[in-house]
């Protein structure tokens, strides 16, 4: 039996829905189809948008007929390759967890009963799957944080969180690609520019990739920041 439905989204898009809930297996199917549309493009498909549970496929009806698109998508959906562990695309994000960049480390240690060292070890200790990007440009919804790190959001959100901030919100962890208001518990910051509209790849990662946080010292943070500014100056 098919595990997906193709829903109508107007005269220029269809939504391929693999489930109604947040679920790793469902999301793997979504990103499998998303990848397949990259490796085997369909002429007339302009772009596709993966979410937790569905893939929105946008197309130009003047270039491909609805009926033909549905037939091709059905063929693709019947043959979504499973991502083999070795093929994981892991993006390393250097993070400085030192006090200056971790204003809420105290909340997290108090709530979880872990030491700061343990929090950092757990946070760096595994790769996080990017289920989708949304909310802000380049904001990754990550799955799979260690449950021991779960900490409720701040009671009153900050009006400004610096770009590159790494935080915990409930049972999720994430990074802020640009400065924005937000209520996550901040435990570190990356010197990387996650989002740069002038770069070939404006965002460093895509849905389906994995993110690995790598601990760096404050000296390394400042050095990387300086190196990047120098590169931009050229």
């Amino acid at each position: 039996m098919e595990d997906y439905r193709i829903l109508n989204a107007g005269d220029g898009a269809v939504c391929v829905e693999f489930g109604q809930q947040i679920d790793d297996a469902v999301n793997a199917r979504v990103n499998g189809l998303y990848q397949k549309l990259f490796s085997h493009p369909i002429a007339g498909v302009t772009e596709s948008i993966p979410t937790f549970r569905s893939l929105l496929v946008c197309y130009d009806p003047l270039r491909i007929r609805y009926g033909k698109l549905i037939r091709l998508l059905e063929k693709y959906a019947a043959d979504i390759p499973d991502v083999v562990e070795g093929e994981r695309h892991v993006v390393e994000i250097p993070v400085c967890y030192e006090a200056e960049y971790a204003p809420d480390m105290g909340h997290v240690t108090a709530h979880t009963g872990l030491s700061a060292e343990e929090v950092i070890a757990l946070h760096c200790g595994r790769d996080y799957r990017i289920h989708m990007l949304g909310f802000l440009p380049g904001f990754p919804y990550l799955g799979g944080m260690d449950e021991r790190l779960a900490t409720p959001r701040l009671k009153s959100p900050r009006t400004r969180i610096e770009a590159g901030s790494v935080g915990i919100g409930g049972s999720q962890t994430g990074i802020y690609p640009l400065s924005s208001p937000g209520g996550w518990q901040l435990i570190g910051r990356t010197p990387l520019k996650l989002y740069d509209p002038q770069r070939d790849k404006p965002v460093l990662y895509k849905a389906g990739d994995y993110i690995r946080f790598v601990q760096i010292s404050k000296e390394q943070f400042l050095q990387m920041e300086k190196d990047m500014q120098r590169k931009e100056g050229v």
Partner: protein, 313 residues
């Protein structure tokens, strides 16, 4: 040299056909709200149809030409004047160096498009000149125009061939009520039969909460089966979300890429310009059409555009 902004108007931004290819990373498409008026403005000048233009909402800007260039205004009627003299819409006209082009309060429609022959010299960001106000990218310094801005022309034209053909008697923004055709779905099954009937038969009023992201409507409440919250999925320009209030929100050019409200239907691309030209207080109703019918209408619209291009150039 190009144009100097004397008064920016209520919200005047640089827009083109939109920023495609980055929605999977969370970037809205942006681009013009009324694609039809935008294309016609460029066609009347012999421009590429996707050339960046100024989009002015509700209250238009005043601009001073720093050098000679043909221009054309389409869409809403903001009572445009050139050096104090009324000028027609949908007509290629020459702005002489020093001339002041003044748009006022909207009289018909909601959004006017000002195109310049040869285009504006705006560096594209991620493949588009459209202003994305939320991210502060694209267009003129990533923001709406302000008094004192000087936007250069790229290849200003002070003569145009076949000038006598470069006008059109279209006036399509005057109606206060429009019918928007819409394809049911993707989540129409989350609404009761009565709810779907309400949506496609009642009249809805455009509220004050109408910006480039979305148009909130007021009217009869649409009944859902068991709530309207869904795990976020993708949104398109024209998606009709039904939040808990039961009143529709039509997602427009700056819509976010994903959203967590059920979508009862999607307004067809050909009818979006009609909604883009509505003001608060105007009314709309929705008519259900199939995808096949919607695409037949889109092909017909495209054929009309092709004929128009041939006839004017």
């Amino acid at each position: 040299m190009g144009i100097r902004v004397l008064q920016p108007g209520a919200l005047t931004t640089v827009q083109d056909a939109g920023r495609y290819g980055y929605q999977s990373m969370g970037f809205p498409v942006s681009g013009v709200m009324d694609r039809r008026s935008f294309r016609i403005a460029n066609m009347l000048l012999g421009n590429d149809e996707t050339e960046a233009v100024l989009e002015a909402a509700m209250l238009g800007p005043s601009l001073c030409f720093q050098e000679d260039c043909f221009f054309c205004i389409t869409g809403a009627d903001m009572q445009p004047k050139l050096d104090g003299v009324d000028i027609p819409l949908y007509t290629a006209l020459l702005g002489k160096a020093g001339a002041v082009l003044e748009l006022g309060l909207v009289r018909e429609g909601a959004r006017a498009y000002i195109a310049f022959a040869g285009g504006l010299d705006i560096p594209p960001v991620m493949g588009s000149c459209s202003t994305n106000l939320k991210c502060g990218i694209g267009g003129w310094q990533g923001r709406a125009l302000r008094a004192g801005d000087e936007i250069p022309f790229r290849k200003p034209k002070k003569c145009l061939k076949n000038l006598y053909k470069r006008y059109e008697k279209i006036r399509e923004c005057g109606e206060r009520h429009v019918t928007l055709r819409a394809v049911p779905g993707p989540q129409e099954n989350l609404f009761t039969e009565a709810g779907i009937h309400t949506f496609f038969s009642e009249e809805y009023t455009v509220t004050q909460e109408y910006d480039r992201m979305g148009c909130r409507l007021d009217g009869a409440q649409i009944e859902s089966r068991g709530g309207v919250d869904i795990v976020s999925d993708g949104i398109v320009f024209g998606s009709v979300q039904i939040p808990a209030s039961g009143r529709p929100i039509v997602m427009m050019a700056d819509h976010q890429t994903t959203g967590g409200y059920a979508k009862i239907a999607t307004v067809i691309s050909t009818d979006l310009p009609k909604l883009a030209q509505r003001m608060p207080g105007d009314t709309v109703s929705f008519e259900a059409v199939s995808i096949e019918e919607a695409q037949r209408i889109a092909r017909k619209e495209e054929a009309w555009m092709r004929r128009f291009r041939r006839a004017t150039n």
